[in-house]
Assembly symmetry: C2
Homo-oligomer: 329 residues x 2
Amino acid sequence: MALSEFELIDIIRQECTLASADVVLGNGDDAAVLQVPPGQHLVACTDMLIAGRHFPLDTAPEDIGWKALAVNVSDLAAMGARPAWCLLALSLPSPDAEWLRAFARGFAELAVQHQIALVGGDTTRGPLSVTVTALGLVPAGSALTRAGAAVGDRVLICGRLGWAAAGLSLRLGGALAAGASDPAGSPAAQWIDALNRPVPLVAAGQALRGIASSAIDISDGLLADLGHVLRASGVGAELRVEQMPGHSELRQQLGSERARDCMLAGGDDYALCFTVPVERVDDALAALQASGAGQVADIGCICAGSGVVVLDAMGQAINLERRGWDHFG
Amino acid sequence: MALSEFELIDIIRQECTLASADVVLGNGDDAAVLQVPPGQHLVACTDMLIAGRHFPLDTAPEDIGWKALAVNVSDLAAMGARPAWCLLALSLPSPDAEWLRAFARGFAELAVQHQIALVGGDTTRGPLSVTVTALGLVPAGSALTRAGAAVGDRVLICGRLGWAAAGLSLRLGGALAAGASDPAGSPAAQWIDALNRPVPLVAAGQALRGIASSAIDISDGLLADLGHVLRASGVGAELRVEQMPGHSELRQQLGSERARDCMLAGGDDYALCFTVPVERVDDALAALQASGAGQVADIGCICAGSGVVVLDAMGQAINLERRGWDHFG
């Protein structure tokens, strides 16, 4: 079915346009006009997903739509921001209305959950790629950053580690084709779901404002992303692998070594990794519980120096050679 | 030269990072934190350039960098906004430091001209494409839109029409290879320059706030883009081809018919098309002159009805079959 660019944009608009009080002028002009409430800072990020690189080529369009927005919203969550608006640039090999409706449904499903208005975009013919820009709001001065971790702080994780990587290895290994379904609730089904439908921890990020000393979302793997925090903060960290969330389920299915690889170097989980001064840990846990955030785990502490040491269950340092996934690696 | 994603981002940052008072937290965290001044609305848009579709494959990387930012800044200009910040998502077939430095230089050249801070981005390996999100500011309530054209208003153009299309046809026809140089100032050299280095009319857009009844930038061709204004405003327009800017130069080189095609249907010039109530035309011209905007031309008027009628030099309606370039066409 041949569609013009304008028809494609209309399909996306139909699925995704939300009325929002702070949208002065939405989709359909040269640019959107938006109202940032007084006392709020604007928080902005952009992330691109390329077919075959950031998701398997046979990924369902609903999942691509969801994920393209989710990975950006996760960055806002890691800043403690409330998502408000987004823009979408979509390059498609051919104008396929059915594909596009499914994509827009997945995208809109997450947008509606967080009341994110799609306020602009661009579609063109080209290799399949999706670039989303997410715009959020945070009370002035209260954004969470990567730079505040201090010696003695605890390192906590909200969400799970390594499940998306386990799901990806299942998909790439051919053990599970797109659309094939393991029994609901099985580990394989949960991992594939973690890969295709990452849940940005928006409420958790906001709950941690004024409590966490630093925060980051885990997109490229724990070691790589915590590494950013450590460099920005000028500190090191000591982690305990058996305290990592999701560890026991992964180990049971994959064995110790693969489980560890997935948790330390696997990306795409969009768990929130944050640091908290020891005396604020109870506050953090209470705030997270009140926000409805799920599993929270204390995985170690910030120490002087640089880099990460990971201890195994016996307290022995693990030889870390793997690094986070480099998109040009 | 193999570079990691982080090294690539560093190269872009080195060229493009501008200190800016309203950037609370720039590049290098999960997201940027930005301060929108009181009384200002945020203006946001995104546009994607795909190699081989939006620019010839052998386009110089400096020109790709400039143009990717320019086409977005042009959208801000058409809203009457002042550009403030941008985000860049870049997909590159291979990590090439030299290419990237050249790209970043072109991008930064325009960014510095308009004091636009690059506050975020994403790089990945993939087919060459560049997606920029531009963020600007406009005094609350004063954005120019597509919806205000009224019967009797004059239709004016700031900038030139059809030169980029003429340049593209030279490039695609092989008459002029990348890097080949016609005598400076020759028509061919000017057209190629119009194609590779479009100048977003930022000062002109701001000068028209409170004066123009509607505005749009010409990215897809005059007929297509003015068509958006007419539909949004519920009116029609009558234009005179011989009053169009750049017409005589184009006709002299290309003949009447090709010149007309370039001016009516050629995209990529990023001229500003705007409407002004008759009694404000002198104000508009004075404001544009004071802003340093170049050539301004009155090309016709808004009339009741819908669609565009274009009259030739004899006052005869031209049979319009061509339409603006559809990116999925």
